[in-house]
Amino acid sequence: MDIKRTIKYEADRVSGFGREVMAVPGCEALEHCIQCGTCSGVCPLSIYMDYTPRQVMELVRSDFKNEVLQSHTIWLCASCYACTTECPRQIRITDIMYELKQRAIKEKVYPKRFPIPVLAEEFTKMVHDYGRISETWLVSKMYLRTNPVAALGMAGLGMNLMKTGRFSLKQDKIERRSELARIMESVDQQNQKAQA
């Protein structure tokens, strides 16, 4: 039996984390959270989450960095923005979830074969390399990295797409790929400079 402590100690906190997140443009309003739970109530996925959106908001504000960055919650957010529109304190909860996802990827603290962040990474790579997404390749790459066996279960879906003329193995790409690459490179350089 795996017995775990269910109450947090103050020593678990990473001092300054909440302030840091709340300083990011779009995340400022978190300071005003009244813990009403509207976000958790309207969230269609909260029933699958380890921490509800309301709990995540408080954990961030109270510096529990490791708990939120390692939570499933941030990856279960499907970006439906229901919480953001319903929040009585105008907190952009979806955008805060995005901020947390970025930090989790940067610090590589998500489960390795967890398909959701892997999909996000493969998506980004494909945009970087080709400028456009080809769905078949994107999904194939995600399965290869997470669960190759499950890819077999997708064969039927592929067949059906073929039957309706929606299946393509062509990798779509833009013409001025170097232009896009330079834009991205410039953002990276500016970010590095800002961090230094």
Partner: protein, 294 residues
């Protein structure tokens, strides 16, 4: 009326029925759509999860190309593209830091994005630029007796309600009624379909799609009309998986533009109903008396 057209990746891939049906419908209404030169992926929901600055810069490249084209209005039919391009405009206007980063990045390739173009959804254009009266005039085959559940999904009304109500949008309802269809009361019209979770976490993602399909049938709908390629994919292509997990919920999901093409009497290759996995039943032929009266 001329618009810069941003198709997005899905409309060239699994969501091609959307483009195939929307272009002829718009043309039929006298709207000109000029595809944006060398457009790139908007970034969808995935890029924002990895790097916000680069996500904004990539989206802003498209806006910059649109501005360069001289067309002030960008038509973005895909919900994710529509949201991301709008969100980028908001970020550029609201956050000076982001504006500066993006401006500098675009400058390296001689592009500029002032954030002046309006990113618009076809429903917005149909109702507010073209008008329902003009749409009605083109209807030659009213969708009499067809009960439609209008599905808006998330990202065209949230978080930026630019042309419709956030909790109870009605633009598609009104459009469908103008086509002669009966709109079914369906309170799930803005509930999430599961997005990309249908593929990454089927238990959670597919269940959301299943709930939508089941409820649409319960409410007596013959068909679900959608505005989003991902919603269409989830509600249609995953049907065998949903059936296997829970129960069969065989109701077709088509783009609103396909129903428009049908009502306008456009040829089959412009209505492309064969792209759907759950086939839509053919409309009842108009009664001879009614046909004669017209």
């Amino acid at each position: 009326m001329k618009y810069a057209y941003f198709p997005g990746c899905s409309l060239k891939g699994t969501g091609k029925a959307y483009e195939e049906s929307l272009l002829p419908v718009m043309k039929h209404l006298g709207v000109e759509m000029q595809e944006l030169d060398d457009w790139n992926c908007c970034g969808a929901t995935a890029y924002m999860a990895v790097d916000e600055g680069k996500a904004c810069a990539a989206a802003a490249r498209n806006l910059a190309i649109a501005e360069k084209s001289g067309l002030q209005q960008v038509l973005a039919p895909c919900s994710a593209c529509y949201l991301v391009l709008n969100k980028t405009q908001h970020y550029l206007h609201e956050y000076p830091g982001m504006r500066q980063t993006v401006a500098r990045a675009l400058e390296t390739v001689g592009l500029r994005c002032e954030g002046t173009s309006a990113v618009r959804h076809p429903l917005d254009i149909l109702l507010n630029d073209i008008g329902l009266e003009a749409v009605k005039q083109k209807v030659t085959r009213p969708l009499k007796g067809l009960k439609v559940a209008p599905y808006y999904g998330c990202q065209i009304v949230r978080p930026y309600a630019t042309f419709d109500d956030q909790t109870n949008p009605t633009t598609m309802d009104r459009l469908l009624e103008a086509l002669g269809a009966t709109v079914v009361k369906w309170p799930l019209k803005t509930k999430c379909c599961g997005g990309s979770l249908t593929g990454t976490l089927p238990e959670a993602g597919l269940r959301l799609s299943y709930i939508l399909l089941k409820e649409a049938i319960k409410r007596g709908a013959d068909v679900i009309a959608t505005v989003c390629p991902l919603c269409q994919f989830n509600l249609d292509a995953y049907h065998p998986k949903i059936s296997a997990r829970w129960e069969p919920v065989p109701i077709p999901t088509v783009y609103f533009s396909q129903l428009m093409g049908l009502a306008f009497g456009l040829p089959d290759n412009q209505v492309v109903l064969h792209r759907g996995m759950i086939p839509m039943k053919p409309l009842a032929a108009p009664a001879p008396a009614a046909a004669a009266a017209r």
